[in-house]
Amino acid sequence: MNPEIRKLIAEHARLAVDVGTLADDASLYEAGMTSHATVNLMLALEAGFDVEFPDSMLKRSVFESVTTITAALAELQPQV
């Protein structure tokens, strides 16, 4: 799951740095992800992983890092 998440971050989060240089738990916001980019990333994650983030998960903390996104996706797709 991790490489696919990183690919979507690279395509949609519009970070100021290469996501490859970031640790899994590094803050994407600190790396320059705006709220606009967060929405785009969420849409790409929904399309890429065939999930829907419920409104209760639409919080900044959920999209904070590769680690938090992985945890959220795991919660949405328990089989993965």
């Binding site: 916001y29 600190e30 709220s35 849409l43 409104d55 639409l58 919080k59 900044r60």
Partner: protein
């Protein structure tokens, strides 16, 4: 319901304790000089002195720190009551209270607790410098940064507008965390006198809301590490900041609308006394105006009471509540424009002229400020974007 904001009636009737104090300050002090404050575009110092005397600047601070322990809904009631007499005075209370609300929610460190106690004991006035030249109202980004210097830190910011900046004891500003931080990696810093200088860069000769004295400034401050919030600015904003700000600003728009509607009502009653037995033609317009005023009051009361209910709940940050408070600000400001101009069509030439009891000059100009004081377009755009992610309307 007596202590909370009422969605059905005006502040004269629904007398929460803070609301009635603010109403009295409006009648005795702020109202009588409101036209002068507007004409001269000057700080409403008399009203702010009275707010201090009444302890209203620390109403939101917990009682154990010396404050009033009031809810946001109660302070919203006070802002609304004052706005019926002088929108600029009410906005000073509103903007200051936004900062205090954030301090109460996120100022958990010892220095920020001590600051709250000091605000209460000295009735300090806090202003805001989030918006920045080159970025405008997009407060989720900053150009300026907290810079390390030998022996400390400094901040220099080109501020688009700092309402009542010259009269404030402290100015809260967003900035990038460090010189190498991205624009979205923001902290919020409280800059205090005497370590703060404001050099005016633009003046405030505005269409309305002239007493807010929202000049542009170059802010230069020595930053005390204890005066930086312990959480990122994004957390302050999404966890109570945007909500408190939209609700408190909306309170001013509702109070302003009530002032205009009250003039129209008085005008119609005077006409009815002159022609007893017939319904004056303008009475029908007034009935329409009353439905708009009720919408505005109801929107505000629901949001303000929800804020109080969500104070310690994750619901505060939910996308639904965030979108709804933005909607309340957009709606109450657009309704303020509608209600003030509607009142003009009722009062006619008596409303159009200055110096009559029915003049609507100041209210109509102030109402147009409500639409740009945090751009409605920006809020609608934020909500449009959020709707792409939300699953429920």
């Amino acid at each position: 319901m007596s202590e909370l904001l009422s969605g059905l009636t005006g502040p004269a009737e629904s007398t929460g304790p803070l609301e009635s104090v603010a109403w009295k300050i409006g009648v005795d002090v702020a109202g009588p000089v409101a036209d002068e404050v507007d004409r001269e575009s000057r700080f409403p110092r008399e009203a702010v002195e009275e707010l201090k005397r009444a302890g209203l600047l620390s109403a939101l601070i917990p009682e154990q720190l010396g404050g009033g322990g009031a809810t946001l809904a109660e302070v919203a009631g006070a802002v609304r009551a004052l706005a019926s007499h002088c929108t600029a005075s009410a906005l000073v209370l509103a903007m200051h209270s936004i900062e205090v609300s954030n301090l109460v929610r996120h100022g958990t460190s010892k220095p920020l607790q001590e600051l709250q106690a000091e605000i209460a004991s000295k009735q300090l006035l806090i202003a805001n410098a989030n918006s920045e030249v080159g970025i405008g109202g997009d407060v989720g980004r900053s150009i300026c940064a907290v810079e390390p210097t030998d022996g400390g830190m400094t901040l220099e910011k080109q501020c688009l507008a700092i309402s009542y900046g010259e009269h404030a004891d402290a100015v809260v500003a967003t900035a990038r965390r460090a010189p190498d931080s991205e624009q979205t990696d923001q902290v919020q810093v409280i800059c205090r006198r005497p370590d703060l200088t404001l050099e005016q860069t633009s003046d405030w000769d505005a269409l309305g809301l002239r007493g807010t004295c929202s000049n542009g400034f170059r802010l230069v401050a020595k930053v005390d590490a204890g005066m930086i919030y312990p959480v990122p600015f994004a957390t302050i904003a999404s966890n109570g900041g945007i909500q408190a700000s939209t609700i408190l600003l909306s309170s001013a728009w509702v109070g302003l609308s009530e002032a205009a509607a009250a003039k129209a009502h008085e005008y119609v009653r005077a006409a009815a006394r002159r022609s007893i037995g017939t319904i004056p033609p303008a009475a029908g317009h007034l009935a329409v105006l009353a439905t708009e005023l009720q919408q505005s009051r109801g929107l505000l009361a629901t949001a303000a009471n929800a804020f109080t209910a969500f104070e310690a709940s994750p619901e505060m940050e939910s996308p639904g509540f965030l979108a709804s408070v933005r909607n309340v600000k957009v709606s109450t400001s657009e309704l303020a424009v509608r209600i003030t101009t509607g009142a003009l069509s009722i009062c006619g030439i008596a409303g159009f002229k200055r110096g009559t009891p029915f003049t609507l000059d100041r209210q109509i100009r102030d109402a147009h400020g409500s639409v740009v004081m945090v751009s409605n377009e920006r809020y609608l755009r934020a909500n449009a974007e959020m709707l792409l992610a939300r699953k429920h309307l």
